[in-house]
């Protein structure tokens, strides 16, 4: 992460502002970071993680300078900032520079970059991925582990029917079930990512 948080207090203040009055124990920050990474990634930026950090850093800095930001909601303000960060990124890339500091661009859609390492490029990596996945699924509660395996199982109509049954069984609406499954999958994906990175 970039050097944008000068004190623990200002970071706490930033987390508090993102929480909008409901203490999320840092979850709002992590969720916003995930959304920003996904946003830059959809733009095919090579360094989506760094751009997300850059965005949050700028927002935090602005909050520190101004004391408060009231004209937009925190999420909306993050989006506006992210858009500027992306435009700068494009401009730097267009001029053939490395982008924002070390950032680079993938060029045209369709080009396959070689930035962040994949989970599994070789057979042993594939084994590692499966081992990490197993370990991460084991960290979940039995109910969550069962839910994610069941929710994402099957194809087309079978999958739809399975989800309907699962929702009925758990007493959840389709929307609530989908969000729960999605949260678990996001958590497991992050866990696998960290696990594979740790070597």
């Amino acid at each position: 992460m970039k050097n944008w948080i000068s004190t623990q207090d200002s970071f706490q203040n930033f987390l508090h502002w993102l929480d909008e009055g409901v203490d999320s124990a840092g979850e709002k920050y992590l969720e916003m970071h995930r959304r920003l990474v996904a946003y830059f990634d959809r733009k095919n930026c090579l360094t989506a993680d760094d751009l997300a950090d850059e965005t949050l850093g700028r927002v935090a800095q602005k909050l520190q300078e101004k004391g408060e930001i009231t004209e937009l909601s925190p999420a909306h303000y993050c989006y506006v900032t992210a858009k500027f960060v992306f435009l700068e990124y494009l401009r730097h890339a267009k001029h053939g520079r490395a982008g924002l500091e070390e950032f680079s661009v993938s060029g045209q859609p369709g080009s396959v970059p070689a930035a962040a390492p994949l989970f599994a490029e070789k057979d042993e990596d594939q084994e590692k991925l499966l081992s990490c996945l197993d370990s991460c699924l084991n960290k979940l509660s039995a109910a969550d582990s069962k839910l994610i395996l069941e929710y994402y199982q099957g194809e087309k109509h079978e999958k739809i029917e399975r989800r309907r049954e699962l929702g009925t069984r758990l007493g959840l609406s389709a929307n609530a079930l989908s969000i729960r499954a999605c949260r678990i999958r996001t958590k497991v994906e992050q866990c696998v990512k960290d696990c594979c990175k740790s070597g």
Partner: protein
């Protein structure tokens, strides 16, 4: 809006979001969705869900035509998204292994056939010997890896379930003590101090879980009652009877009256209490029989256990 219209709208929305994810929307429309993907909670989750399904569809080879072409060319253009695809592939392997395991449980006779026996010996001809052995070793390694993962998960599930059952067993013991207290009071038997009745409980899993070790119950000299909590695979009978047998002596040691199955977590179980002094230090079998409405008795399963006297 009718239900079908609503469904059609949802299908359309999914397709629209897929177009966005594969970079097929005009810039201004994509900008609007970019904003929602960060600033709108509901939309952010919905988009993530559609993306997960899109990636799964790719892994399941369900994409075709323009969508597939764009997915490969645009969506797969970053390592982050390639990681998502690899994660989905890994998840699919677990799901396939899970399904296979479920089928094996459904068909126990087939499960006992080693998978390598499906390769007829005539195929293992010398000129392909090395490659076949290598392939077999890879299959075995993969098979063991997946089996290992599932056994670990199953053990964890079973542990959680049995912890819940242990709590239930404790509760049943307390209930039993209370009932005995009430019963003794009703019958004016003040000489027996029922509150001091000592029980020991033993939780036994369904007999189909063949991998579990023989369960042991330890009986102390002051133990009065042994409560057996026998977990059922399914509860299809209105009543049950428990018969405790000594297989070495080929004798029936004790049998219960008609019992009802109780819910224990998401399982059904039958609990039976027998006097501790009937049991010696040896192996026993608790046979559970289902009682039909017509009064017939059908064996549900045998639950072996071992007794240790202290």
């Amino acid at each position: 809006m009718s239900s079908s219209e609503k469904n059609e709208k949802n299908v359309f929305e999914d397709q629209y979001l897929v177009l966005y994810l594969v970079g097929a929307l005009p810039a201004e429309e994509a900008d609007r969705l970019d904003e929602l993907s960060i600033a709108d909670d509901d939309f952010a989750w919905r988009l993530r869900e559609v993306e997960n399904d899109l990636v799964d569809s790719y892994v399941h080879s369900e994409l075709s035509g323009e969508t597939l072409a764009r997915f490969k060319a645009f969506y797969m253009a970053t390592a982050q998204k390639q990681q998502k695809v690899q994660f989905a592939q890994g998840l699919r392997q677990f799901q396939v292994a899970n399904t296979s395991r479920a089928k094996i449980v459904d068909k126990p006779s087939k499960s006992r056939v080693p998978f390598w026996s499906t390769f007829p010996p005539s195929r293992i001809i010398p000129q392909f010997g090395i490659s076949v052995v290598a392939l077999a070793m890879m299959l075995i390694a993969g098979y063991l890896l997946v089996q290992n993962a599932h056994l670990r998960r199953e053990a964890r599930d079973a542990r959680a379930q049995y912890e819940s059952m242990d709590q239930r067993a404790g509760k049943l013991e307390n209930d039993l003590k209370q009932q005995r207290t009430a019963h003794s009071e009703a019958q004016y038997l003040p000489s027996v101090d029922i509150a001091q009745l000592t029980t020991v409980s033993l939780l036994l899993p369904p007999p189909s879980r063949g991998l579990s070790s023989l369960k042991t119950v330890t009986i102390h000299p002051r133990t009065d009652l042994v409560v057996l909590l026998l977990t059922l695979e399914s509860a299809n009978f209105p009543g049950y009877r428990v018969i405790v047998k000594d297989p070495a002596a080929k004798q029936v040691v004790w049998q219960s009256s008609e019992l009802e199955a109780n819910s224990v977590g998401d399982r059904k179980a039958v609990s039976a209490g027998l006097p501790a002094n009937l049991l010696k230090a040896r192996n026993y079998i608790a046979e559970v029989a289902g009682l039909t409405n017509a009064g017939k008795q059908r064996i549900v399963g045998d639950y072996p256990f071992h007794v240790v006297l202290k």
